[in-house]
Subunit: 542 residues, 2 copies
């Protein structure tokens, strides 16, 4: 090769904020807080406080490579830490308060953090933990001075700690592959695994996220992330908004309808996103109060599939476009996003909506996807062939933090654990989790497709499908449906309903009406379903 | 530092095209050609031919680090070479046919290219050159088989050469800092200097170019680059369109009104860009024929300042937004782009247009600008202080190809040779070329500002300002105005006109009515003006 002669200046997170100040320093950031009034400043004032926070971290003995933990909501102070810690070469571990207490403890200790920043309402939890956090030297409450409650951990006030430091910081440039933010997966089995994002991965992910085929952000947008900053940095929005000059609204942990609506209306929010549950609550609030969505024009939904009725209501009643996002902690998280293309639009609006609402999304520049069979052979992108979904790219994990757990393979492909199809138009659809897939007579049956068909059956509240042993076909699907309270549902009724809607040979021989166990995040708990039904074949025939 | 654990997969140009195929393989590319019918295919078919071209290059003995030269217009074959050569690790030198013949020869020999790809209409020039291109082994005409004219150089047909090769190529991943495309500056003094773009710089530049604050590209755009592919890859558009899934229309060298209009209407072009001259011709065509601009909604203008009347006509008469772009070969070229912000929009439409049409543009993510005084001290971003404009970033030059000419300084700052202001809203305005700036009594006078004011004077066709020696003030401005044919212009009339429009102490003591020499690209030739007027002080008092 011949070396190019352009600057190989590293991609630095600090340059994102410096750009925001120089290009749109007046743009606002608004933050709801725990028991404090709504906070309001602009990128220039934010950058001044980020500089102070950087000086504060150094004064507390934090240097390059050191880890600090945040246990925090979507607030401006959390946003500041997402720049201050990486800015000095340290790593911010964004602890996930939705994990079990033992898991939260595990991640803080595994990260090796020496300072714990936390919101006021986590004080009781921190007090309970304190003796089990040997490496933590300082406890800092994300609070002003007057409302500080030191508790049993001698917590200090973030505001007191940063006050007095210079509002300038001469941000260093260093290796762009240095770690910046550490997030743990919330897998249901085993210990959480750490994913250590680098400056390079965060900057590239932030640039790609703003493109029109992805989140389509502009300086005219007001962005309110309802995905949590501790969940893969809320889809990278803290960085993408600064790159694109968007106004930013941070809703703290107040995801109820009235609280979100207040911000959407008062701050003229144009863009928001989060898990379906939030939007179910919000639409219910709008329905009850007869309110409208003001300037809101798009909602990106991730975490679970978008319910069709939700997308329909947003569109028809409020003129709001619903888009899906799919990704994982291991993919930073942007994998695919369901945004329109002229080819799709040419098929007519119904077809367009059908694709946008039922596919997880379309390919994004910078991340590569392929599907392979059990032997690792790539399958065609025909929208029909389903295989293990592998991903690769500069914001995809290479290996887990301090772990021997396998990351990407030698060619950089990371196995998502999902089974999916890809089509000619660049759209990806997940048909199953690999561990849930049912192999029957050598062919795959999608448990998700059967469940989706079953919940459309009148009276059915939730449906779960697992594979059970079958001497002839190896595996066959078993379906458990739980009715809405008061509704009457029979196995025969469900069978008749399904027989018109799914491939004949997918039809489960066994359909049971019973309670369907759910996980803490509201998904069907397949492990418990298997424990109950798959291991006692005699009962299955019931 | 602690190393992050994401993949450090290199940014490769070949991944741009692979993405285009997977995500929007059906999107069209349309190309006008020299004496061939209009060509039409899609990204998938294009990628197949790029693979064939890569095999062809290898078969001709081209390997990593080797250089090949194109002397070509905006055509699909040129587009293919912009992917094929870098894809195999070679370097494409895009020779600039607008340079003098000696300079074209110089750049091909300086690049050390062993293959020369050229459009049919360059055959006479190539025949003339042939004995002075010792390193060139093969001459390839960008032509189909039937229209091939081998001439005296035994030219081969591109189509014949690529035919028969596999339409698949297993693109290698290698160091992203490897050279990919080589462009020479067209400076008026000395030999042209080579700028060697890397895979990294091109990919990052292409990603940034698509963002809403820059070119704002989407899959619903049809992009027709009228800037030349040989001029810093037409603003990176060949890469940005593939990243964003735009339809691409290539106008060859046919920049006349009727030819452009045909493509704009027939292909539903939404976005175009180029130097002001092209748009002057196009607007005149529209005026003469009473035609409208169809789907065209934005025109980006670079190379010279946008004439106010042009921006006004595009906007009021055709609903087309005019945007300025400023950059240099050394900046890939995106430096700044004039796109709206909510802060500007809030000032009202007149104020918004005034800023968008008179500033060179606003800061873009990825590239940093600062202005400094003669001692290198940074000046405030107040819209008033003018200083030397320095730029830095991953698509800014580090050093010139095979040259000792200075590139960037130790901190990565490249001196653009321009004098500019920066303002609080992130906009940059060039007030002068550093070599044209007039220093009077220790203060700077902008020759450009005086010229712009003078050409607004009735009867004035073109105006040129230079600094001349003054025993008291060190330098004072001297203004030469050339009237429109038949118009009567007097020095007194110009002086009265100017006195109400520029700072009093800027008013030139000497105003001459005479012919103003222009360069080959239509700019005022300050060197000749100085030769004529600045070196004969006695004459100046005339």
């Amino acid at each position: 090769m011949m070396r190019g002669l352009m600057q190989d200046r590293p991609l630095m997170i600090s340059d994102i904020l410096s750009h925001a100040v120089a290009a749109h320093g007046d743009q606002e950031i608004v933050s709801r807080l725990v028991d404090e009034p709504i906070w309001r400043y602009d990128y220039a004032a934010c950058a001044a406080r980020v500089a102070q926070a950087a000086h504060m971290l150094e004064a507390l003995g934090i240097g390059p490579g050191d880890r600090v933990t945040s246990l925090a909501w979507n607030t401006h102070r959390h946003f500041e830490l997402l720049y201050a810690a990486p800015g000095i070469g340290a790593v911010l571990h964004t602890a996930n308060p939705r994990l079990s207490e033992d898991q939260i403890l595990y991640t803080i200790n595994h990260a090796g953090s020496s300072i714990l920043f936390f919101e006021r309402n986590f004080l009781p939890l921190i007090e309970k933990f304190r003796t089990r956090l040997p490496a933590v030297r300082r406890f800092v409450m994300l609070s002003d001075a007057e409302r500080l409650d030191p508790g049993e951990v001698d917590a200090e006030s973030y505001e007191v700690l940063i006050a007095g430091y210079s509002t300038k910081y001469n941000w260093p440039a260093f290796d762009e592959n240095s770690g910046a933010v550490l997030c743990y997966t919330s897998g249901t089995t085993g210990d959480p695994k750490g994913v250590l994002y680098s400056h390079r991965s965060i900057v590239l992910h932030g640039m790609a996220g703003g493109l029109s085929g992805a989140l389509a952000l502009s300086a005219f947008d007001c962005v309110m992330p309802c995905a949590s900053l501790y969940h893969c940095t809320a889809w990278g929005l803290p960085y993408a908004v600064a790159i694109n000059g968007c106004k930013l609204v941070l809703p703290c942990d107040k995801m109820d309808g009235p609280s979100l609506h207040e911000l959407i209306v008062n701050e003229s929010v144009t863009f928001s996103g989060g898990v379906p549950t939030i939007w179910t609550m919000y639409l219910a609030f709008l329905e009850q109060t007869g309110q409208s969505t003001a300037m809101l024009n798009r909602v990106v939904i991730g975490g679970s599939a978008v319910p069709h009725a939700m997308a329909e209501t947003f569109k028809r009643k409020h003129g709001v476009s619903v888009r899906q996002i799919w990704g994982m902690t291991e993919t930073s998280p942007i994998g695919v996003l369901s945004t329109p293309t002229p080819q799709l639009a040419a098929m007519g609006e119904d077809q367009l909506d059908e694709v946008l609402w039922t596919r997880q999304g379309r390919l994004q520049f910078g991340i590569q996807l392929k599907i392979v069979d059990d032997e690792g052979v790539e399958l065609p992108r025909d929208g029909e062939s389903a295989g293990r979904l592998l991903v690769r790219g500069p914001w995809v994990i290479d290996s887990y933090f301090k772990s021997d757990a396998p990351g990407a393979d030698a060619d950089g492909w990371f196995d998502t654990g999902d089974i999916a199809t890809l089509d000619r138009l660049g759209f990806m659809r997940i048909t199953d989790r690999a561990k849930d897939v049912i192999k029957s007579g050598g062919e795959w049956i999608s448990s998700i497709d059967i469940e989706n068909a079953a919940v459309a059956c009148p009276g059915v509240r939730v449906a779960g499908v697992i594979g059970v042993y079958d001497p002839k076909w190896e595996e066959r699907p078993l379906l458990v449906v739980e009715p809405h309270p008061g509704a009457t549902v029979t196995p025969e009724g469900v069978r008749t309903f399904l027989s018109e809607r799914i491939t004949r040979w997918w039809l489960p021989e066994t359909i049971l009406v019973a309670e369907v166990p759910l996980t803490a995040t509201g998904k069907v708990d397949k492990k418990r379903l298997r424990d109950t039904y798959a291991r006692s074949p005699m009962q299955v025939g019931a």
